[in-house]
Amino acid sequence: MAKIERTATVSRGINKTIIYVVCIGLALLSILPFWVMFVNATRSTAEIQSGLSLIPSTHLKTNWDVLTSKSFDPLKGFLNSFIISATSTVCAVYFSSLTAYGLVVYNWKWRQTFFTFILCVMMIPAQASAIGFYQFMYQLHWTNSFLPLILPAIAAPAIVFFMRQYLLATLSLEIVEAARIDGSGEFATFNKIIIPIMMPAVATQAIFAFVASWNNLFMPLILLTDKSKYTLPVMVSLLRGDIYKTEFGSIYMGLALTALPLFVIYFLLSRYIIAGVALGGVKE
């Protein structure tokens, strides 16, 4: 009996070793491409051409100079991306919370119909209406404006859905009643009492809305033609063009710069992000 148990333990030990090896291998696979990117951002093109290295070199400054001497302006791109992502995130979470609150607290005739409708349009891909959207914005002279990248965020069905689930689970209507008795208007109640209550959900959705907007390529690519308006993902496509053909050091530099803000956000907030992803799956 003891012998059987021992062999079981030994085989489990071997299994565990295999599992750790696979997991560490996958973790390395996640890190390595980015590691090479950051390291190569500090190496000269000649060094990069001569072979692979995982140790940083000393050409950071040169690569930066070459990168910015051509049409690539990372600070401008960062600023553009930030303006668009920050404002669209505020629009998305604020108005989605408002809509969700309207759906949960008030009993109105079309409430159920409206909610079903939100469920129906949740999955519609943005690309499906892109041509009409572009033509419409062109007629309004809104191409090369940030507005068409920000304002559509006001109608974010998936966030409304999430916020509604959150409110149903956490909000007791007595709080709303109490605020009414104290003479608070409905809108003031929402801004001063409900938004603070919803903060955990707002924060989670804000992270994802921000990252989604920051990473968006398709819409900015069709709407923005003026180089000074480019967002970072559109700028990245410049790195593929002829201007940097052989300047590998500065290409890696440009890539590293576009990815850096996300690495910072990710490592500061990874706990909340992972929890948010898990929530997204079980929300059904």
């Binding site: 599992i19 990069i48 068409p148 559109v234 990710y266």
Partner: protein, 324 residues
Amino acid sequence: MRRKGVNYSKYGYIFSIPFIIAFLIFSLYPTLYTAFIGFTDMKGVIPKQVHILDNPFGNFKDLILNNVSFKQSLVNTFVLWIANFIPQIGLALLLTAWFTNKRLNIKGQGAFKVLLYMPNIITASTIAVLFSTLFAYPMGPVNSLFHALGWSDAPIQFLQDKNTARGIVSFIQFWMWYGNTMIILIAGVMGINPALFEAAAIDGASGTQTFFRVTLPSLRTILLYSLVTSMIGGLQMFDIPQLFITPAGGPDNATLTTSVFIYGQAFKGAYMYNKAAAASMIMFLIAAVLSALLFYLMRDRGEAKLRKQLKLQQKAAKAAAKGV
């Protein structure tokens, strides 16, 4: 008690107005407009009078019957999606089985989750250009690595071969998404009633048996959810195929996806807005069918769950009756 007389229901409408207005302007109207353009002769950079075609369905018919690139793009989208989804769900399931197995008690799960999920959050266009630079010819990091390991004698032109290009694009998609799928599946396992696992353990089920007989059947709906959302996401695959190989589309259009096709038709060359709009509508219809499928499956799930619970209750009642 007079307060009860106040009718607050109008605020339900008021609070929904911003959403509805934004939706009508930025979503519904552009969708209808796209559908309309699909029936017209709108093309060219310079706007001119637009006419509905004599044969309204001409663009659609032409795309489906005659356009080789469009047909190729549908096939490519499907091939690239399948080639990333099967390994993705396989690996995610394997990792889920390992991480949720209490007997194995894998350490450092938090760190593994953070690292395996990481590629998903980084800008896809950055990743696309990064990989195309890593696979550069004649001297890129991957070529250096292959040379150093003795796997190749001469530099390989990875991006010139149809299947290699497709393989790398699928790999990038797989690499970006398996962590996401794994976290969703692990959350799904956490949601399974622990009593089921205890019962399996008491009955002497092995780890493998528990996984295939208890975990996997309970995850069925979450797997379906992953499948359908991944299909709709895969339909829109754009950033990676657009930027990974220039010109977009790759060798012999091997990595031309439907979204890349739409972008190319509308914003390059002849500016065929009408063809692009018709292609968008076809994509929209496919997505709508898939969404409806998801809806149907999820609805079924609620009922099935209810039936299961009723059965369990009946069983428990029977057992209790027996015990007495």
